[in-house]
Point group: C2
Chain length 434, copies 2
């Protein structure tokens, strides 16, 4: 079949065979199929969907387009956590060192900010000198000997996905369950892991905003993982407000450090421990949920997880002194605190608007070539359910460009809603999918 006929087949809602998917994806990856044909197929998939079988085939083809890591030499359980993305989600920065201290090997390949959401790589790079572009061999050594290594996608890991991902980002075909599933899972499978926990966000700060869509995505991801013999579970967690209080790269790094020093926000720590428990129970089936959480709390209490974060920072070229002395980090030049004009119980936050506001302040990119201001961002002074009085602080904006503050403040002020009585809030951990 020629590319034209494969596009036509999917545009009519028919099912593609494994060889049709392979022909197209490898043709695109090698450059014989042009961008405009790939984007037509992506849009047809976006609208008409893919069967479970097609999604598995797509995952396999993207996986096989590059190298698959082999960590069988690692002495402990090799596992990773992946989040579908939200606002203020810095769990990876806490969880990777906690797990490493507990004998888990975490070969974490992270991404950059996308849409309204932040990216772990950008947050790590807020530490002066931190290098997320290690040679593969160097990274493998860190994972085996230190228990963790933190890098970005390289040209040899799922190169087909890398090229397709960039095209999806400019053709409005990101929010597709089969495309998201194959993209995430091909990279995770390529990591050579034996266990995986997925943090599938739901709510108005998530890519999948309804519980039904989040559940579909979670099930799709879990079934692919299992199909590859990886122990996989997913937690659907709430993203109807930012996780923790900090939004923006250095702010989130700072909050992560405080978390590892025993002063983390309650919701952030709860999600971190819940996700960590999933992996610890895979590694040690005899462990209870309480036991798995207690083990993690101990790595915080005794400082070992924080020491691990500092050590990996140094090994990846970063200056760990800023982690020890958070106040030394240079602050954003300008700030503006938004105060409440209403009173009542905080019942709703426009979380996605906060994510985009962070980007406008300089914490993310509007174009691929934009430079990030690591000190820019937002610090929240409230959580859903809080009793707020008129003139109470809601949040503070931080920015290098004073002129942006008022415009951004105006955009997000309307996103707060209040009720007279305590509002009903979604649970933090909404569902567990196995």
């Amino acid at each position: 079949m020629i590319p034209y006929q494969i596009i036509e087949k999917k545009s009519l809602g028919l099912t593609l065979s494994e060889s049709e998917i392979r022909t197209f994806i490898m043709g695109y990856s090698s450059g014989t199929i042009p961008d405009y044909q790939m984007s037509a197929l992506l849009m047809a998939i976006f609208i008409n969907g893919m069967t479970v079988e097609e999604t598995l085939d797509l995952t396999r083809v993207m996986l096989e387009s590059g190298n698959r890591m082999d960590f069988s030499a690692a002495p402990g359980f090799v596992a990773d956590k992946h989040s579908t993305g939200g606002v203020g989600d810095k769990v990876s920065i806490l969880l990777a060192p906690i797990l490493a201290v507990l004998g888990i090997h975490v070969p974490m390949i992270s991404g950059r900010g996308l849409g309204h959401s932040g990216g772990t790589l950008d947050k790590l790079e807020s530490i002066p000198g931190f290098n997320v572009n290690l040679e593969l061999k160097e990274w493998e050594d860190l994972v085996v000997h230190e228990g963790l290594g933190l890098i970005g996608q390289t040209g040899t890991i799922c190169p087909a996905d890398k090229k397709i991902y960039a095209l999806r980002d400019v053709t409005a075909t990101v929010r597709s369950i089969p495309l998201i599933s194959a993209s995430i899972m091909s990279k995770k499978i390529a990591e050579g892991i034996r266990g995986l926990v997925l943090d599938v966000k739901t709510g108005n700060g998530a890519f999948m905003q309804t519980l039904a869509d989040s559940r579909k995505l979670a099930n799709s991801l879990v079934s692919i993982g299992k199909g590859y013999g990886i122990r996989t579970t997913a937690l659907i967690t709430d993203m109807s407000q930012p996780l923790g209080f900090a939004i923006g790269n250095w702010f989130e790094m700072e909050e992560s450090v405080k978390g590892l020093q025993g002063q983390g926000p309650e919701d952030l720590m709860a999600v971190t421990y819940a996700l960590g428990a999933e992996i610890l129970k895979m590694a040690h089936p005899e462990l209870s949920q309480e036991g798995a959480v207690a083990m993690q709390k101990k790595t915080v209490a005794d400082g070992s997880a924080f020491e691990k974060l500092k050590r990996i920072t140094e090994l990846q070229g970063g200056d760990s002194r800023v982690l020890d002395d958070l106040d030394k980090y240079s602050k954003a030049k300008f700030q503006k605190t938004i105060k409440s004009s209403k009173s009542g119980y905080l019942a709703g936050i426009d979380t996605m608007a906060l994510g985009f506001a962070g980007i406008q302040l300089g914490a993310g990119r509007k174009m691929i070539s934009d430079k990030i201001d690591f000190s820019s961002g937002i610090y929240m002074h409230c959580k859903l359910g809080d009793k707020i009085e008129i003139a109470d602080d809601l949040l503070t904006l931080y920015c290098e460009d004073e002129t942006k503050l008022s415009a951004v403040a105006d955009q997000i002020s309307a996103g707060f809603s209040f009720t007279e009585t305590t509002p009903e809030l979604p649970p933090l951990i909404v569902e567990r999918i196995v």
Copy 2:
């Protein structure tokens, strides 16, 4: 709105505003929006469709991307015919001179072969020297003073459509009613016509194979024409077998000449006269259907229509001697006649397969760079409903490359089906849409 958001809106099945359509189409036409974003939007339109309003907006934007002709100086009624394309459809070559003789001005902008269907420009170019790339001024003079001029789409007429059309052809987004409608109608409106008759083909040799789809397309085309103050009607005509007997460029030219000399196939002449009558009745509302047909038959009987074809051939640089002496035209080197292996009444012909067979024999292009063999093609010896005996001739293939004959013969032989009693056949003129 940025292009991304416009694509996203259509991918979710929402309706685009006039300014969104304009931003996107003009951005693509001017090169600021890349192919891959346009193809994503085209696929979203292909699958999710467009409202009547969106289709009108798209037509307007494509129209306004280039020049619109002004034939108000022409002394008579300015009108054109357009066919949605089929196999053996050479009506334009007969009808343009007939109408010109009857005082109608026909500024006909035609296309080349597309998919399985032939194109008027290719057929005209089978006449040695015939130039379909006149300067616009030269063409306008012919339309005003001679009553007809036969050219292809230029860079100044709907350039946005020209660029989009090429992309649709390689991204499997051709068969979309709103995209077809806007493409056809923007070009027809740009011709500066006051009347238009559309020949919307239906059946297994048409792009829209079901009557329901053909009817939808006809209604869409007619409503756009009327929206622009153009008197517009459509005839849905049968394409469940080739029109006439000849398929292939010179073969069709030859059959057209014979038609203008009073020896045309019955179906070809009936469709030609029916379409012509629509335009003549627009120009002369007092005319009866019979009167409008009779006027046209007279231009054939007295030779004036044929003289007009010869004259326009000469004025457009063609050698009209081949029209006077058809036998002088060089024949294809090889031929093969397919005989029937069954007997009965001919009840079905795979018309699209015949169109593609013609292309394989050299009568059309598989790639844009292919050269056409004008003498290649197919001559039919039968029509649906004929009583066929075993070993009767069904059709003859003509080709410059002997090796192709057997392969093509094998492909199309299976496309003929027979019944024991006279089969029920669709009417030639299926419906009239006003």
